[in-house]
């Protein structure tokens, strides 16, 4: 087996797709998911598959466990400066080397901060409160914030550290600038401190990585990772069933049962830090797509009626085949601010909902629902089911299901009356939700507040929690904000997504709440 | 000329060709019999649909399916050829019986040079080298009247005019030195001015080589100038056969008589058959008795009941008409 695996790594640029599962080395993982990383530049694209792949090559200062808690990575500890609450003191791990052999020091962290704050970076917003980083000694860094930022370390889990000398030598001190029309060296070349080294990469075809023997952590059991994006669900599952891949990350819910029954394959499931909800324009005078002259969503009765007709259990049972956690609150349980009560929802009451609609519009009304069809688990089917449920109470919904590239601009440009959105919370804190979805759209706030919700009182509270250091008091304010948002029915939440990974037997992997599985934690039987 | 004692080159006896259709089986040829002597030119005339071309096609074994020879026999020098297998028949075609079709513009494969088509044909039948075949081909082209044959042999058909192409076609039909050439309306598609030249070439070259010719045409003028004997077909049946001069000067069959009346005087084209009222019946509606009886001025009782067989008369003439039935000659003499 070792001989074979060596042969495989030697000819890594031209790796054979071993047809039979049995011929694959136990140390190699062939990993398929729906999409490829867009780039290998660690600071360019804040996007799921990109982050997932980069995590294997670059390390972050802080990482997140499968249970959602923070744990040390390149930073061994992080504290608020005793004298200045707006400074975070990071203590760095010693003895770490980059894959090109150079040593990891505070200089690299400071440089990475400069790079991640550059205007062509995709992560500026996450570090928006950072004023600058300063190396105190080789293994201590001070990060100066614009004000007290008690939860800032949550923002470090996707912050990859690059080697300053390497970046300067290769002229990649800033991430890709599209307008410049030139390709950035860092798009296809890497030098991280992570567990794997890049061996070869053919974008959207195959990326091969091998274990980095100078990795600061435990040597991974999987010495080689072959990553293949397969966009078509049926093809992806077929590849697993035919033994061409070992691990499929994005498993359609309907295939779970079949995979569980298949010999040699198992399915692991777990909750994702992402929930799915409908929202609507409750502010405009008149809707773009409705047949009535005012805005139906401005009536609390209508919003209540919609909540009453939404049969979350049916969606969970039939559309999601049990692969979801129905909930009334638009935040997953991982997120700070979540409470058990927020999840509770009323049983559907179509009769009452019909009455409510009739009380405002005796003949009902019509509206268009905008829905992505390639973004979330069964997004289109969920929308379709909801169209039916709304139809039952006199709301005539026409469905506009389209690709994500057409759907999301509608929300951003306020060109939708009623839409589906899924939201993940990488900081694991409610403030992230409030900032983007609840706060009135202005400056860096409210980019995804597609329903034009605007409540000055709520806005003030949202701004307040950003700098509160007393976490208990902060949680109380968060609770107040949630109470108001739930009362106003800003969101019609459906459920939290569950993730399903399918792997071949003998390979153990945990479901990651942010859907970012790590191959170096995989074990083999 | 025709010597009764020599064996005929081609002998067709009671040939019946049928086409099954959804309206029943059509008899395109109905018991047709005739002979062609070595070296003679037999003209075959009749209106469109009378069965001239089908006669030619059945001799050469190329009736379009679903048509088929239902009965009768065709003998070439005494040997039956209608029952030959496809491969044996193929060897007869071109080698022993040559064929010239109506339209020289479409008879030649546009994608091959004249040389390719000639040498291919020669070498199919005669075991000689390519160079030898080419020499023969050039000589033949020269003989059929293609100027600068050695140079033009490598041209493609579209480089030639219609008349020249028909000369090429004749060369192709004759290149394996067949004993019989069937020429199916060889000049119909050509300009009047070249028609006689083509006929001349065909006749001369066949005479040189001693090949017999079966000249199919609806142009009595051509027959009169070219043929030794003439056979007249009507509705798939033989009406009359005889030496061409005799038939022209004294037609026996009323149909032939009508036909002769339509020979163009000098070179002037006129509508043929204007003198005969009515039209030839369609094959699925052939009247009982003599096929010609509805149009015949001299028809009498038996004509409407029984089909007349060919009756041999003096001077090598045959006619299928009750008028000449010896049993009835007396009663009709004065009619």
């Amino acid at each position: 087996m070792t001989k074979l695996s060596r042969a495989l790594s030697l000819s890594a640029s031209a790796l054979a797709l071993a047809l039979a599962a049995g011929t694959a080395s136990a140390e190699t993982i062939r990993w398929a998911r729906v999409a490829d990383a867009l780039t290998l530049d660690p600071h360019s694209q804040n996007e799921g598959p990109t982050l997932t792949l980069l995590r294997h090559i670059y390390s972050t200062l802080v990482s997140r466990n499968a249970d959602g808690t923070l744990e040390p990575s390149l930073a061994t500890s992080w504290e608020i400066h005793p004298d200045d609450p707006s400074i975070w003191v990071l203590t760095l791990r010693e003895g770490v080397t980059f894959q090109d052999g150079s040593a990891f020091t505070a200089e690299d962290v400071v440089f990475s901060y400069e790079r991640v704050l550059h205007e062509s970076s995709g992560f500026r917003a996450i570090h928006a409160d950072v004023e600058g980083a300063e190396a105190i000694d080789d293994y201590t860094v001070h990060v100066k914030m614009s004000g007290p930022s008690p939860l800032y370390p949550n923002n470090l889990t996707n912050f990859f550290i690059v080697d300053k000398d390497w970046a300067e030598a290769n002229d990649v001190v800033a991430p890709q600038n599209f307008a410049a029309g030139e390709e950035n060296f860092a798009v296809r070349n890497t030098n991280g401190t992570g567990p794997y080294k890049l061996v070869s990469r053919d974008p959207e075809v195959r990326t091969v990585m091998e274990a980095f023997d100078g990795f600061w952590g435990d040597a991974p059991a999987a010495t080689e990772v072959i990553y293949q994006p397969i966009p078509e669900a049926a093809t992806r599952i077929a590849a697993l069933l035919s033994g061409e891949v070992d691990f499929v990350q994005d498993v359609p819910v309907q295939d779970i049962a079949r995979l569980e029954q298949t010999d040699g394959v198992k399915v692991v499931t777990g909750p994702e830090n992402r929930n799915l909800f409908f929202s609507y324009d409750m502010t405009s005078e008149k809707l773009r797509s409705s047949n009535v002259d005012d805005n139906p969503f401005s009536h609390p009765e209508i919003r209540e009626a919609m909540a009453l007709t939404l049969d979350r259990d049916a969606i969970q049972k039939v559309v999601m085949r049990g692969q979801s956690q129905p909930s009334a609150a638009p935040l997953p349980p991982f997120v700070n601010g979540w409470t058990e009560e927020m999840n509770a929802y009323d049983a559907p009451d179509v009769a009452r909902a019909t009455e409510l609609v009739k009380s405002v519009y005796p003949d009902g009304f019509s509206v268009q629902l905008d829905c992505p069809n390639d973004r979330y688990l069964n997004d289109e089917a969920i929308c379709q089911a909801v169209v039916g449920m709304m139809g039952r109470i006199g709301i005539d919904v026409s469905l506009n299901a389209q690709s994500r590239s057409l759907h999301f601009p509608l929300i951003e440009k306020w060109e939708t009356d009623f839409y589906l959105l899924g939201w993940g919370v990488p900081t694991f804190d409610s403030a992230y939700i409030f900032n983007f979805l609840v706060h009135t759209r202005e400056d860096s706030y409210g980019a995804y507040n597609g329903g034009k919700y605007s409540n000055a009182e709520v806005d003030a509270k949202i701004e307040e929690i950003a700098t509160m250091t007393d976490l208990e008091a902060r949680d109380a304010v968060i609770g107040e904000i949630w109470d108001q948002v739930m009362e106003d029915r800003v969101f019609l939440n459906v459920h939290n997504q569950l993730l399903a990974y399918a792997v071949k037997d003998g390979l153990n992997i945990e479901v990651h709440p942010e859907n970012q599985p790590t191959m170096w934690t995989v074990t083999f039987d | 000329m025709t010597d009764a004692k020599t064996e005929p080159l081609l002998s067709v006896r009671d040939l019946v060709v049928e086409f099954p259709t959804r309206r029943g089986v059509l008899r395109a040829l109905d018991r047709v019999s005739f002979d062609i002597m070595p070296g003679e030119v037999l003209g075959m005339v009749g209106e469109s649909g009378a069965g001239k071309s089908i006669t030619g096609a059945s001799i050469i074994g190329l009736i379009e399916p679903p048509g088929r020879i239902a009965s009768g026999e065709i003998r070439l020098k005494g040997e039956r050829i209608d029952t030959l297998g496809p491969e044996a028949m193929r060897r007869v075609r071109g080698r022993r019986i040559g064929m010239v079709f109506q339209d020289p513009l479409t008879s030649l494969n546009p994608l091959y040079t004249v040389a390719q088509q000639l040498t291919e044909t020669i070498r199919t039948h005669i075991d000689i080298s390519k160079g030898e075949a080419r020499k023969r081909a050039i000589a033949l082209l020269d003989r059929v009247g293609i100027p600068a044959a050695a140079r033009r042999i490598d041209d493609y058909p579209h480089h030639f005019s219609g008349g020249m192409r028909q000369r090429v076609v004749i060369a192709l039909a004759l290149c394996a030195e067949p004993e019989l050439v069937i020429a199916d309306e060889p000049t119909t598609a050509l300009d009047v001015s070249v028609q006689s030249q083509i006929i001349e070439v065909l006749k001369d070259i066949c005479a040189e080589r001693g090949a017999a010719v079966m000249l199919i045409t609806h142009d009595m003028g051509v027959i009169a100038e070219t043929a030794d004997r003439v056979a007249v077909l009507y509705a798939g049946r033989m009406a009359e056969i005889g030496p061409v001069r005799d038939v022209i000067t004294e037609a026996l069959h009323p149909y032939t008589a009508g036909l002769m009346g339509s020979i163009p005087t000098l070179t002037q084209e006129t509508d043929r058959l204007v003198q005969i009222p009515g039209a030839m019946p369609r094959l699925h509606a052939i009247p009982q008795g003599c096929a010609f009886n509805p149009r015949c001025e001299r028809a009498f009782a038996p004509c409407r009941e029984t089909r007349p067989d060919l009756i041999s008369r003096e001077g090598g003439r045959d006619v299928a008409c009750w008028l000449y039935d010896p049993a009835r000659t007396g009663e009709l003499r004065d009619a």
């Binding site: 669900a233 049926a234 599952i237 077929a238 069933l241 359609p252 309907q254 295939d255 049962a257 079949r258 773009r288 797509s289 409705s290 049969d311 049916a314 969606i315 049972k317 039939v318 559309v319 019509s366 509206v367 268009q368 069809n373 390639d374 289109e380 089917a381 379709q384 089911a385 169209v387 039916g388 449920m389 709304m390 139809g391 039952r392 919904v397 026409s398 469905l399 506009n400 299901a401 389209q402 690709s403 057409l406 060109e415 939708t416 009356d417 | 959804r22």
Partner: protein, 316 residues
């Protein structure tokens, strides 16, 4: 259009009628394949045209659906509701039989309208090109060449993309079907144009066309009247085969995410959705629509094939 289509009856009815009534009808009677194909097409067309009357339910009315009926296997009672569906139910709780009937209706409508569109466009362009000749003709035929070589899917994607920019919100799902029709039709007019152009080039120099001009009639009108009967056969063959192609094209586009809204699925949409259940075991969601599409398209193709041979006696 109306006066022209009626026109042939005055001039050519005898000839047309004879040809149709005799040879074609006979050829049909003796071709079992054509008979079976016609029967299949008739049954499918009947079921889809009368779907609103004979289908057990209206799957296009979302309010009538019960999500809990989702994924009910054929002939088995649903675990939650106890309802039984002859061909099972799909993921939205739609009765497959009804959904297929309505879906076929949509597919046939799209296909037929697309072919009609292509036909009208092709005949007009062909007639015009043949009549004008010269550079107009070369330009139009060059466009036709490009069109022919440019893949239908790309053209359809393009039309769809452009239409999306023009269609206002709220009308998207009503208009989607028409966009689809134009998209498919647009990639299919060339063959019609070629046939008609050829025929009109022959006709335009005939005396009656010039004569018509003398008496003040528009030559195009006259030509149309005379050409149509002549090209009826080939046009019919092209139309038949195009119909099958259009139905398949609709399905293909649906796979690329372009097509009718999922709340009003066509056969193609049903298959696109159904193929996701090939591995999971809900075979009826894929199998029944696929078999219906296969039966329909195959029959139409066979008819087209047969028609081509039958109308071309030289191939018989």
């Amino acid at each position: 259009m109306t006066p022209e289509t009626q026109a042939p009856q005055t001039k050519a009815p005898g000839r047309l009628y004879r040809a149709w009534d005799s040879d074609l009808a006979y050829a049909f009677r003796t071709a079992p394949v054509a008979i079976v194909a016609t029967l299949v097409v008739l049954v499918v067309v009947f079921c889809s045209v009368f779907a609103p009357l004979i289908a057990p339910m209206n799957p296009y009315n979302p309010a009538a659906l019960n999500l809990m009926n989702g994924f009910t296997p054929p002939m088995e009672p649903n675990a939650f509701t106890g309802e039984v569906f002859l061909l099972g139910a799909d993921g939205q709780g739609r009765d497959m039989l009804s959904t297929i009937m309505y879906g076929t209706r949509t597919s046939l409508f799209v296909g037929a309208m697309a072919v009609l569109f292509a036909m009208v466009m092709g005949i007009s362009i062909g007639l015009f090109a043949g009549w004008r000749g010269g550079w107009v003709d070369s330009a139009l035929m060059r466009i036709a060449d490009v069109q022919l070589a440019f893949p239908a899917i790309l053209i359809a994607l393009l039309v769809f993309g452009i239409a999306r920019g023009f269609i206002p919100d709220g009308l998207r799902d009503q208009l989607a079907i028409w966009v689809l029709i134009v998209a498919i039709g647009l990639s299919d007019w060339v063959q019609f144009a070629r046939v008609v152009r050829g025929a009109s080039m022959v006709e335009k120099n005939k005396e009656y066309v010039q004569a018509a001009q003398v008496i003040g009639a528009h030559p195009l009108k006259i030509m149309f009247r005379h050409i149509l009967p002549n090209v009826m056969g080939p046009v019919l063959v092209i139309a038949t085969i195009s119909l099958a192609l259009a139905i398949i094209a609709e399905a293909t586009l649906s796979f690329l995410g372009v097509g009718v809204p999922p709340t009003q699925p066509s056969l193609g949409t049903l298959i696109r959705v159904g193929q996701g259940f090939l591995i999971s075991g809900e075979w009826w969601i894929l199998l029944f629509p696929a078999v219906t599409l296969l039966a329909l398209a195959l029959s139409v193709n066979l008819l087209g094939d047969w028609l081509r041979d039958a109308l071309n006696p030289r191939l018989r």
